[in-house]
């Protein structure tokens, strides 16, 4: 049984009891507990079922490396799967459900798989589900989908908020154990700005549990002392519950801060993602104890020796009454001592080593009356849902059982692996340390900055300095290095001296016993989370998956949420053994950020809901909204698609608006069109290069429609250019094109024509612009009163400054509808007032606002192209019959040379035509015309496609434009456009100008 002891628990506040629920059962814990310690205190050792075989699984670890203790937490808006119980701080009212079990944790049907494990070896899925192919979709995939995954996907919207925070420091120390604390203190003493972060809620790392003294003071007191010193230093920032998640180029670090996971009742964001720029990074991330691979090492009750110590010392929880310790090093003896001192029974320490003489630890064990069996090992663990005993054998043998020892817990230690993740994220290399049998950072191959300098230093256990005395000195050294690297003067200071007992060397054990037969090997787990055993890795090697990366993917070793924190080294040692190779030759898989999974919410930060994406609003946005606007996103802008009145549907509204603009008076909010001022002595020359037309000959006071192409000749934008004065032009761009074209202009000015005297300014948002459109347009403006807008005073394609209705305006006599039309710009701050004034004077003239869809229909009736409809990045002006807008007098313009290439002048290029269905129906947008024969893929030959298609209320039929092979030469021909659901549309090729071919309506 695991239980809470009457005494102990240094992190607990026993005055404050908490209630929580696990699988519907109400349990009690204390303030300071983790969910794991509280479960153990309630004898809830079984926490989950394994992924593949659904084997009962208990807690193995006490920290971020825990592979089994994953739960679904919370409900509805706070539901989250795969929460690690060992790093979840207990709070009152916590609810958790174990994962991957059916129908219940105690009785799981899927556990039958464990008896089928012979048939579910490594690579099972690849082998089994490959053939026959037709079974994949209906049999295999649904089966795998159902059995895959650990937690449940959240269904409700996340109720919490998240944020980012940008922070800058000279030295960032990741890890608040003794090495990290010392590194921070040493670096801070030089005056460097230091950020010290610790992923858990407590400082000191393993120090306070593992014991020892620093300058004669117990570690725990030393930690308190150094923290209080650091707290008084103005150049030091200390953060707990903040994990260094990833290290990236240029000293960029992502920090994951959990603000309210331990106290959900608090207000504010749940997680904060720190985006840190550090001059130098110290990774003092500690080390993780390795399990030992012996048969039955996954049975609940088998735990890492250090974890068992943590539960005992930190939380006053005993994992069992009788604990067998099995180890290959001295460190695990600490667990035996702590258990013994707590009054619990340790029947035996099985030590795989055979040493010439006893180490101090062994002597102490014997003095405490603990039986120590050197050269011995666990042959197998007895029990199913809970350990009931171990069978003892010789480590050197094949597992012949020498004796059985009853126990209810096993503490194992296979040695320690430095946490090298953050060191490795940005290219730090590792070396194999033979003495300690682990990979540790290679100081000569550190992650490098722009100047080739190391920008990460590992410290303490993370650097292989496992013992207290070494870790302190290593931390001190790292602090000095980091400060010096960021330009601070390091003075010689003394480092506190740690005292920890001398240890006998550890002995690598990659299989226990070393000659274990296949039966034992198939029960010796390497990866608990993914159900990978020693036998699976050996099989992968045998089947040719020799690269560690291949073996990982074939066996799933080291995948999923724990990313092999416990299994990695044991796995690749097993692979090395199977390949008859060495561990450093096999190498490790790649360490990638984040260190442990971080919430998607923290990555999104504030960007959700209303502010998921910036929405751009015109000065008249609220008016549109209040008048039935249905919105259309155009770039980041929102434009009214149509203003829908009561009793209308959207289509009705579009038809009404389109008709009204031709018959009476329409208003369009054209504020979103880009407006770029181009000024300078070379402005004309510059625009001649940018547009296909000649712009330098334009007279002040006049407007000209222009096309812009990329260097490759393709159309990228169009719009009306107005010449303001000799040196100044105003270029209109498409909606959403303003920034892009501004950038395009700047790029050419800054890189190619840097000596031309031209400046560009984007003044799009300075103005609200309203298109006043229709036969009554002039009357409306005359009613407003002010400047002369008569045909003689302001002809078609002219502009003028003046006043209308008291507003200071610039009026452009341009038309995208084919009607009499004025586009009027006023200062944005008066846009709404001007719009209101137009609505008032237009009242008796039949005024109606119209949206983007009516705009589209009006321009299509006139055969005007639209960037993004008639163009898609592969269309050149010549395809659209726009030869008239391509100057033949100019030596050069962007796109000219490209348009002369053979493919661009190919007569087979599809060309723009108008299309009219024989029935009057509307052609589906994007539909293809099919011709005779088939292509190489057996599809019908395609000879054209629809680029724009609408019902024209003014013409009472469907009209369309399209690109068609030899189109302009085939006027009158009827093409077939297969639609969906078996329908085929017949359409006749016609002139794309459907309405008012001579342009009389605009020219009045």
């Amino acid at each position: 049984m695991s239980t809470r002891l009457a005494t102990g628990g240094r992190l607990l506040n026993k005055q404050k009891a908490l209630t929580f629920t696990f699988n519907g059962k109400q349990l009690r814990g204390f303030d300071g507990d983790t969910l794991a310690s509280a479960l153990l205190a309630n004898d809830q050792m079984l926490v989950g079922r394994s992924f593949k075989y659904h084997r009962p699984r208990g807690l193995v670890a006490s920290g971020a490396e825990e592979p089994n203790g994953l739960v679904n937490m919370g409900a509805e808006g706070t539901f989250e799967p795969n929460q690690r119980v060992t790093t979840t701080e207990l709070f009152d009212g916590l609810t958790a459900q174990s994962q991957n079990h059916w129908p219940s944790l105690d009785f799981d049907v899927g556990a039958i798989n464990t008896h089928l494990s012979r048939f579910l070896p490594a690579g099972f899925y690849y082998k089994m589900f490959m053939h026959p192919r037709p079974l994949w979709k209906h049999v295999y995939e649904p089966f795998i989908r159902q059995s895959a995954g650990l937690g449940c996907a959240p269904k409700a919207r996340d109720a919490d908020t998240y944020e980012h925070f940008h922070f800058f420091c000279d030295v960032m120390v990741i890890g608040g154990g003794v090495a990290g604390l010392q590194a921070a203190k040493t670096a801070a003493a030089t005056g460097a700005k230091v950020l010290l972060v610790e992923q858990s809620a407590h400082w000191g790392g393993r120090g306070p549990v593992d014991g020892g003294t620093v300058d004669g003071v117990p570690v725990e007191n030393y930690v308190d002392q150094i923290i209080s010193e650091l707290e008084t230093m103005p150049n030091v920032t200390l953060r707990k519950r903040l994990m260094g998640a990833g290290v990236y180029d240029h000293g960029y670090v992502l920090g994951y801060e959990q603000l309210r996971d331990h106290a959900p009742e608090n207000p504010g964001p749940r997680h904060r993602l720190w985006r840190i720029r550090a001059g130098h990074i110290v990774t003092a991330t500690g080390a993780i104890e390795r399990p030992l691979p012996f048969a039955g090492n996954d049975i609940p009750g088998v735990m890492l020796a250090s974890a068992m110590r943590d539960y005992l010392v930190n939380y006053g929880v005993s994992t069992g009454d009788r604990t067998v310790v099995v180890t290959n090093n001295d460190d695990a003896y600490l667990t035996a001592f702590d258990l013994k001192n707590a009054g619990l029974s340790v029947p035996v320490i099985l030590d795989a080593r055979v040493l010439a003489r006893d180490s101090p630890a062994m002597e102490q064990a014997k003095a405490l009356g603990i039986r120590v069996m050197m050269g011995h090992a666990v042959a197998s663990v007895k029990g199913t849902k809970r350990v009931t005993g171990v069978c003892v054998c010789s480590q050197a043998g094949e597992g012949a059982v020498l004796e059985e020892i009853a126990c209810d817990a096993v503490a194992m230690s296979g040695g320690w692996s430095p946490v090298v993740h953050l060191w490795s994220h940005c290219g730090g290399k590792l070396i194999w340390d033979e003495t300690q049998a682990h990979f540790r950072p290679d100081v000569d191959k550190a992650p490098m900055g722009a100047q080739g300098e190391a920008f990460v230093t590992a410290a303490g256990a993370a650097n292989g300095a496992l013992r207290l005395a070494d870790a302190l000195g290593d931390g001190d050294q790292a602090g000095k290095l980091a400060a010096a690297a960021t330009g601070f003067k390091v003075r010689q200071t003394s480092c506190p001296v740690g005292d920890s007992p001398e240890e006998a060397p550890m002995m690598p054990v990659w299989l226990m016993p070393q000659g274990a037969g296949v039966k034992l090997r198939s029960k010796a787990w390497l990866d608990y989370q993914n159900d990978v055993k020693v036998s699976d890795v050996q099989l992968a090697a045998q089947e040719g998956f020799e690269s560690v990366e291949h073996a990982k993917r074939y066996t799933t070793l080291g995948m999923a949420t724990d990313q092999g924190k416990l299994s990695n080294i044991n796995g690749l040692a097993t692979l090395a053994g199977a390949l008859n190779s060495t561990i450093p030759q096999v190498g490790t898989t790649t360490f990638r950020p984040p260190y442990t999974p971080i919430s998607m919410g923290s990555i999104a930060g504030e960007a959700r809901g209303e502010v998921f994406q910036p929405i751009r609003r015109t000065p008249m946005h609220n008016w549109h909204d209040a008048h039935g606007a249905e919105w259309e996103p155009v770039g980041h802008w929102r434009r009214p698609y149509a203003y829908v009145r009561d009793g209308e549907n959207t289509h009705d509204a579009v038809m009404r608006e389109t008709r009204n603009a031709r018959e009476n008076l329409g208003l369009l909010d054209a504020s979103t069109l880009g407006k770029l001022v181009v000024k300078g002595p070379d402005a004309g020359k510059f625009l001649d290069m940018l547009y296909t037309n000649m712009m330098s000959t334009l007279k002040p006071g006049k407007c000209r429609y222009g096309l812009m192409c990329s260097e490759n000749g393709f159309l990228i934008d169009d719009g009306v250019v107005a010449r303001i004065d000799e040196d100044t032009f105003l270029c209109h761009t498409t909606t959403g094109g303003a920034e892009r074209i501004h950038q395009h202009m700047e790029e050419w000015l800054q890189t190619e024509w840097w000596d031309w005297q031209v400046y560009v300014a984007n003044v799009t948002e300075q103005y609200a612009q309203v298109a006043v459109v229709g036969p009554n347009a002039r009357k409306a403006l005359e009613k407003l009163g002010g400047m002369d807008v008569s045909k003689d005073a302001l002809g078609f394609m002219e502009w003028a400054d003046g006043h209308l209705g008291g507003f200071k305006v610039r009026v452009y006599r341009i038309s995208f509808s084919g009607e009499l039309s004025y586009e009027i710009a006023v200062d944005a701050g008066q846009g709404q007032a001007f719009w209101d004034a137009l609505m008032v004077v237009g009242h008796d003239l039949g005024v109606m606002p119209y949206g983007t869809e009516a705009l589209h229909i009006l321009r299509a009736e006139k055969g005007f192209i639209m960037i993004g409809d008639e163009t898609d990045g592969t269309v050149i002006p010549q395809d659209l019959g726009l030869h008239w807008a391509i100057s033949k007098k100019k030596d050069d313009f962007l796109g000219k040379r490209a348009q002369e290439r053979s493919h661009m002048t190919d007569p087979e290029r599809w060309k723009l035509v108008g299309l009219e269905t024989l029935s009057g129906a509307v052609l589906p947008d994007g539909a293809y015309a099919v011709g005779e024969g088939e292509n190489a893929n057996g599809q019908k030959t395609m000879i054209g496609r629809v680029t724009s298609s609408y019902h024209s209320p003014n013409l009472g039929k469907g009209i369309a434009m399209g690109l068609v092979l030899h189109g302009p030469d085939r006027m009158g021909e009827v093409l077939e456009f297969p639609g969906t659901e078996g329908a085929t549309y017949k359409a006749r090729i016609v002139d794309p100008v459907f309405y008012d071919k001579d342009g009389e309506k605009a020219n009045v």
Binding site: E163, G268, P614, E765, G829
Partner: protein
């Protein structure tokens, strides 16, 4: 002619860790030119009364200021009603120079974020070192605020002025509100 309005009609919020308020109308003139040319320098300093700003800085004199935007761009701040007259003076002074001066007052929105936690609110949204010893009154930063372009400076300790595009005013006000939400203090800057 009617009274011009700001993008959000003077929106404000005061229930979080900082005070947010849309500023009233602000005159702004964008100038592009050779900032080392004496005619350009003279035109902007005499139009503003402020000294030429160094890179990344703002200089102020009374209700006018000069903000450094880029190696060939300045932003001149003046009272909204004085833009026309100021622009005329600049055009006259720059008649013989290659330069572009243009009114952008209505193209922008301006916000004030103030309070002891104002620095934190800004550091949540902008990739800028806002530690009190790193960003101080007199500095000017053209950067981004969450997903949109913005520029800001500190008119005094514990206050920021932010300029953004007018069309994005609502977005900027909304992200500032999220960043200033109650309970979101970071507590990293020495107070």
């Amino acid at each position: 002619m009617s009274e011009p309005v700001t993008a959000l009609g003077g929106a404000s919020a005061d229930n979080g860790i900082a005070t947010l308020a849309e500023a009233s109308l602000q005159g702004m003139i964008s100038l592009r030119g050779d900032l080392t040319a004496s005619a350009v320098k003279k035109a902007v300093t005499s139009a503003s009364g402020a000294a030429m700003p160094e890179q990344g800085r703002v200089t102020a004199e009374g209700d006018r200021a000069l903000c450094w935007m880029s190696p060939d761009e300045l932003l001149l701040l003046c009272p909204y009603d004085a833009v026309g007259e100021t622009l005329d003076r600049m055009h006259k002074a720059l008649a013989k120079s290659h330069a572009l001066a243009v009114n952008v007052s209505d193209a922008r929105a301006m916000f004030r974020v103030s309070g002891a936690r104002a620095r934190e609110v800004m550091a949540k949204l902008s990739p800028v070192d806002l530690a009190p010893d790193q960003f101080t009154p007199g500095m000017f930063r053209r950067t981004r605020l969450a997903q949109v372009p913005a520029a800001f400076w500190m008119p005094e300790e514990e206050a920021f002025h932010i300029i953004c595009f007018r069309s994005q005013a609502q977005y900027v006000f909304d992200v500032l509100t999220v960043a200033a939400q109650p309970g979101s203090s970071v507590g990293v800057y020495q107070e």
